[in-house]
């Protein structure tokens, strides 16, 4: 099936998420849409899938114009979509999720779920998916949930499959498996629209690459194009993808975590007996798939988790049990993983956000009064230093782009003399240009002699920044390995297999 988008525009108010986009997906091809977060890829696919109505332009299937008023129409036309955030009902079984919306029924609308079970087994066998139709979706690992989504589309006989950032939640091994599945589907005649911002995967699997920037098509590129070329197309200016980083000069070990355990409300240990240390002038990167205890680990160090046992010492001083304020005053800089929820007060101005941790101290306050002039002065300096693109220091932080919001958080946390710097997902949802800048700042902080802990689910970032790499799996430390450990080894560790082989469970 040939799919064509002609002159598609989608406006939200005065803002154009897509502007005059042309795209042709040929039958049996893997067509990649490459672009940064917020470039308008997902919007375009939501238009194609009938979730949004385009402001202008039209869609052609096999050269015939169609109009989709809802996802039902798109599915009937043979388009299936696997969303970035899975559209699965967690308390339903796999079969129920697959049946939903196209339920096989007998007389009077009574479900005959057996037929769905049979179809799932059939597809499962054909592609080697290994999915149990009667398992509850919420009990399945993310990779399997994704296969359920693919089965959902295949059961509806999708000829074009849209995969929206499918690898964001996967381990490297699961990613490889997914790429294999994509090749198999292609061999079976299914066209695939693959949305991603990860260059390596795109190059590995695509037949054609279309690059999108700020809602417009920049151009097509063959999969043989170099990563630097593709990145430059995405960002719109030359970028350097590799970080110039001098070897670490570790000095004294000042930050020690011993036997840290965090118990969740349901009685399980989300962080389970973790011990590590970081020396001054060294970056320890914590790798792992999302949800393996990273959040709880960093929050336990900061002091916002309950039910924490073990020991966390900085410069010989016990941090566990201290109020958050005292932890921060001990010289801990903390960049939380979700800047919009924990890092910033959205409606507050950039200037106010830059002093959230210092507002009650000199020079920003004396006694009970704040000194707005000092705050503004501070903001001016930081905006310049961190190249924060904001209309003014008085603009609400929530209105800035992701990258600039992150720069505000980073600027604030790095504006005090630090004894320890922790950054969680420092570049999530940040454009390639800003990533470069943020990474340089992190390395600079290391080079002044601060112990640095980076938590990231992006393996590329971990490899880029780390002097040593710690891998978490199900709340446990699988191991700590030196920088330069092969990706494959790291990938296996992220799935719970120790560096010397042998499974963790």
């Amino acid at each position: 099936m040939k799919l064509e988008l002609k002159g598609i525009s989608k406006a939200f108010g005065t803002f154009y998420a897509n502007q005059d986009i042309d795209l042709v997906v040929e039958s049996g091809q893997i067509h990649c849409l490459l672009g940064e977060n917020g470039a308008g890829k997902s919007t375009l696919m939501n238009v194609l899938y009938g979730l949004y109505e385009p402001t202008a332009g039209h869609i052609l299937v096999d050269d015939k114009p169609v109009s989709f008023r809802g996802p039902g129409d798109a599915m009937a036309a043979g388009i299936g979509m696997v969303h970035q955030h899975f559209m699965l009902v967690p308390v339903f079984t796999v079969a129920e999720n697959v049946a939903l919306g196209a339920e096989p029924t007998t007389f009077g609308g009574v479900l005959s779920i057996d037929e769905t079970r049979r179809k799932i087994r059939e597809i499962s066998d054909r592609y080697g998916f290994d999915v149990d139709p009667d398992a509850l979706v919420e009990d399945l690992p993310v990779g399997v949930q994704q296969r359920v989504e693919i089965i959902k589309a295949l059961v509806r006989e999708a000829k074009v499959l849209i995969l929206d950032e499918p690898t964001a939640v996967l381990t490297p091994q699961e990613t490889d498996e997914l790429l294999d599945i994509m090749r198999q589907l292609k061999a079976g005649g299914t066209s695939i629209v693959f949305i991603s911002h990860k260059l390596r995967e795109v190059k590995a699997v695509s037949d054609v690459i279309t690059v999108i920037r700020r809602g417009k098509v920049v151009g097509d590129a063959p999969p043989t194009a170099s990563a630097t070329e593709l990145a430059s197309m995405m960002v719109g200016r030359p970028v350097s993808l590799s970080l110039d980083k001098a070897p670490a000069q570790p000095k004294e070990t000042t930050f020690v975590v011993e036997n840290l355990t965090v118990r969740a409300a349901n009685g399980t240990n989300v962080v389970d007996g973790i011990s590590f240390d970081i020396a001054q002038g060294e970056i320890l990167a914590v790798a792992g798939v999302q949800g393996n205890g990273q959040t709880e680990l960093t929050e336990a160090i900061l002091g916002v988790q309950e039910h924490v046992t073990g020991s966390v010492t900085l410069d010989g001083k016990q941090l566990l049990g201290l109020p958050v304020k005292d932890v921060l005053r001990s010289g801990v800089g903390f960049v939380p993983e979700d800047r919009t929820v924990d890092g910033l007060v959205g409606p507050f101005s950039v200037a106010e956000n830059l002093v959230l941790d210092l507002y009650d101290q000199a020079p920003f306050a004396s006694g009970i009064s704040m000194k707005p002039a000092k705050v503004a002065e501070h903001a001016k300096a930081k905006i310049e230093e961190f190249d924060i693109r904001t209309p003014s220091a008085g603009s609400a932080a929530g209105t800035l782009s992701g990258g600039n919001q992150q720069k505000v958080v980073m600027a604030r946390e790095l504006s005090r003399p630090l004894r320890l710097f922790i950054a969680s997902q420092p570049t999530r949802g940040v454009d390639v240009g800003s990533i470069e800048f943020l990474h340089k700042r992190i390395v600079a902080e290391r080079d002044v002699g601060t112990p640095v802990m980076i938590v990231s689910t992006e393996l590329d970032e971990v490899i880029e920044l780390a002097d040593r790499i710690a891998v978490l799996y199900k709340g446990k430390l699988v191991g700590i390995v030196p920088a330069g450990t092969p990706r494959d080894t790291l990938g296996l560790m992220m799935a719970g297999v120790g560096p010397e082989g042998g499974s963790d469970d």
């Binding site: 339903f92 118990r263 046992t309 010397e500």
Partner: protein, 429 residues
């Protein structure tokens, strides 16, 4: 790997081993002691008579005669044994099985009954009457809680059950009087309940107003409106507007003569039979049909449903409307079955009890039905014990249904999970 394999073990010693909650063993223990001391040692020395069948029944079973003090001690020891078993399980790190609190509750209530009856002026009650009366009082609650189940399963919180019951009760009385047929009144009640529900649906689904607020406002609105119409229309012209007559009781021959069960299952009005049918149909519909799968998907993950071509807001709208119609029928029971006229605020907070029943019943039609029966029992106990004259002040007896509600919802519900999207309006995109 050695560092990582030893670490968890060391961590485990730092934390006490995880134990199930002590809530159940402790509360059972305390209640058992209360029963033993108050119902047993300090219990009345008269004998309680519990009649099982009425003199007119086909099969006559002799009445239970239980001496107050001895009975209290025996039952109290039985309760203590169950509490001890629960504590024993707790020390072994196991949860008490589900049947234990239920069995405990049954025995406790029986002990309470013996204590109250034996201490009454006239130490005799009819168990058959008690149970049958409980079902009768539970009928509006069952309809109300089914309405709640339908709404919450699709993602709309229905606080307006009270208003739907009241609207149904008023309309049933009015229409039945005017047309002279209680059956037309019953249909009109369903329409009235649906109308109240549609207001809830429009405001909460289309205009995204907070569902709790709309529900509360609707309750006040319906109460005010029916109260006003009652005062201006029905009070001065009772004959014309407020003499609906009753729905006939339709006993099924033979089956209705079975002791205890007969009157409950086979000697009901059309509304009573409808209740059983509605519970079964809603349960089957929700869990065995395409409609139910879609309804539950909309209530759990509306976006997922939307991406599969299911119209989320239309599904919500019609389900809420259907729920309202069911609650309306429940309201009609007040004015067409229980008594044969409307009075101001006749539903008397039953809508909120129905809401509690739906939560206690874990958003399941059958669970809601059983929970409603429990609350119906509490209402009935209150009135029967008032009649036989107990030493307990009537004001305390009046609190009984609400006390049961609070204990049931707060203490016994345990970890139940409401539909994930309940109360959250769905906005596309």
């Amino acid at each position: 790997m050695s560092a990582t394999t030893t670490a968890p073990r060391a961590g485990a010693t730092a934390l006490p081993a995880f134990r199930p909650s002590m809530k159940v063993p402790i509360s059972l223990g305390v209640l058992a002691l209360i029963a033993l001391v108050f119902f047993g040692f300090l219990g009345p020395d008269k004998t309680a008579e519990m009649k099982i069948s009425d003199s007119g029944d086909a099969v006559v079973v002799p009445a239970l005669m239980i001496p107050g003090q001895v009975g209290g001690v025996v039952l109290g020891i039985l309760l203590l044994a169950m509490a001890a078993y629960s504590i024993y399980l707790w020390t072994r790190g196991e949860r008490s099985p589900k049947w234990l609190p239920i069995a405990f509750a049954v025995v406790f209530v029986f002990a309470l009954l013996v204590w109250i009856v034996a201490g009454a002026r006239q130490p005799s009650i009819s168990l058959a009457g008690l149970v049958a009366g409980s079902v009768t009082l539970a009928v509006p609650l069952v309809f109300g809680s089914l309405s709640g189940v339908l709404c919450e399963r699709v993602g709309v919180v229905n606080i307006a059950i009270e208003g739907q019951l009241l609207g149904g009760a008023f309309t049933a009385a009015l229409v039945a009087t005017i047309t002279g047929s209680p059956y037309i009144g019953l249909i009109a009640a369903a329409a009235a309940g649906a109308a109240v529900s549609m207001v809830l649906a429009v405001f909460s689904i289309k205009y995204l107003v907070n569902q709790i607020i709309v529900g509360v406002v609707l309750n006040v609105l319906v109460s005010g409106l029916t109260g006003f119409l009652f005062g201006t229309l029905m009070v001065p012209n009772k004959e014309q507007f407020n003499t609906p007559g009753r729905l006939d009781i339709l006993p099924i021959p033979l089956l209705s003569d079975i002791p205890i069960i007969g009157p409950i299952l086979f000697e009901q009005s059309i509304a009573g039979y409808l209740m059983y049918v509605a519970v079964a149909v809603v349960w089957f519909g929700l869990f065995k049909t395409r409609w139910g799968l879609r309804v539950r998907a909309v209530g759990e993950h509306p976006q997922a449903a939307d991406t599969l071509g299911i119209n989320v807001n239309a599904t919500r709208f019609w389900n809420v409307t259907l729920g309202g119609a069911i609650a309306g029928i429940g309201g009609a029971v007040f004015t067409l079955v229980t008594i044969d006229s409307f009075t101001k605020d006749i539903s008397g907070g039953r809508g909120f009890i129905a809401l509690a029943a739906l939560i206690f019943g874990r958003w399941n039609p059958i669970g809601a039905f059983l929970a409603s029966l429990l609350f119906g029992f509490a209402y009935n106990l209150q009135s029967i014990l008032g009649i036989i004259g107990t030493p307990v002040p009537s004001q305390f007896m009046a609190m009984l249904p609400y006390l049961v509600t609070i204990f049931a919802v707060a203490g016994l519900v345990g970890k139940s999970r409401p539909p994930a999207a309940s109360g959250i309006p769905y906005v596309k995109g």
